[in-house]
């Protein structure tokens, strides 16, 4: 199982804060998790300004995701 979270403008576009995706037995990268999430929600995020984190750490789209991981998608941060 993969826990997916969305924040800020990405959350608003997707229309939900979180999703649970079944763990793909062959494994997955962040990019593949995003594709699964797009399939689930029907909203295309690829090509937009989306960053990712895995287990509370910034991650690239080629990072490997493991069963039980939390994967988050969000726009560039604007704090401070």
């Amino acid at each position: 199982m993969i826990q997916v979270k969305f924040f800020a403008s990405v959350r608003e576009r997707v229309g939900t804060e979180a999703l649970r995706l079944p763990w793909p037995e062959r494994g997955a990268t962040v990019a593949e998790v995003l594709a699964l999430a797009e399939g689930e929600t029907g909203v295309t995020l690829r090509g937009a300004h989306v960053l990712a984190a895995v287990n509370l750490q910034h991650a690239s789209f080629s990072s490997v995701v493991r069963d039980g991981d939390e994967v988050a998608f969000f726009p560039p941060v604007t704090g401070g």
Partner: protein, 165 residues
């Protein structure tokens, strides 16, 4: 290092006064940055702001940045406080304080922390204007309305280089 992510307003000097004295003994100075909500942004009037964050990741990322600053600079300790939720113009959003034996390291480390905080800590600002709410975007490409012509894939293995003296 001390990191606080909170909804409540705070008094920067009271927070500095409450900082454990033993951790900053020998400090010759402290450099503080205090960021406040402006009442304008570009040409628009700002009535208020909502700050969203990623609970858990925010604290963790700020602690990583504090540790990175301590690795890079001859500093004694740091304090970072960042608010989320609904803020009004003039409200304090963020404070970063760095104690050091000598002022150069305090300036360098404080500036490093606020600079990298703005590129790495998972906060997102939404401004309330007379025309409605809008997300703040700090990307020139985003501001230009481009969606495909540029990328947001920073090299996450490396922090930006600090402003050196």
């Amino acid at each position: 290092m001390l990191v606080k992510v909170q909804q409540e307003d705070f008094d920067p000097m009271a927070e500095m006064a409450a900082f454990p004295a033993g951790r900053i003994s020998g400090a010759g100075g402290v450099v503080t940055f205090i960021g406040t909500v402006r009442d304008y942004s570009g040409t628009a009037e700002i009535l208020g702001m909502e700050i969203e964050h990623y609970p858990g990741m925010t604290e963790r990322e700020l602690e990583r940045l504090g540790a990175e600053a301590a690795r890079r600079y001859d500093m004694l300790d740091s304090l970072i406080i960042h608010r989320y939720g609904c803020l009004a113009p003039q409200d304090t959003i963020v404070m970063v304080a760095v104690w050091a034996r000598h002022r150069a390291a305090a300036f360098d480390a404080c500036r490093f922390l606020i600079d990298v905080l703005k590129t790495r800590a998972p906060f997102w600002k939404k401004e309330r204007t007379p025309e409605g709410m809008r997300w703040v975007t700090d990307c020139p490409g985003c501001r230009a309305g481009s969606r495909e012509g540029h990328t947001h894939a920073p090299d996450l293995a490396h922090y930006p280089e600090p402003v050196m003296k």
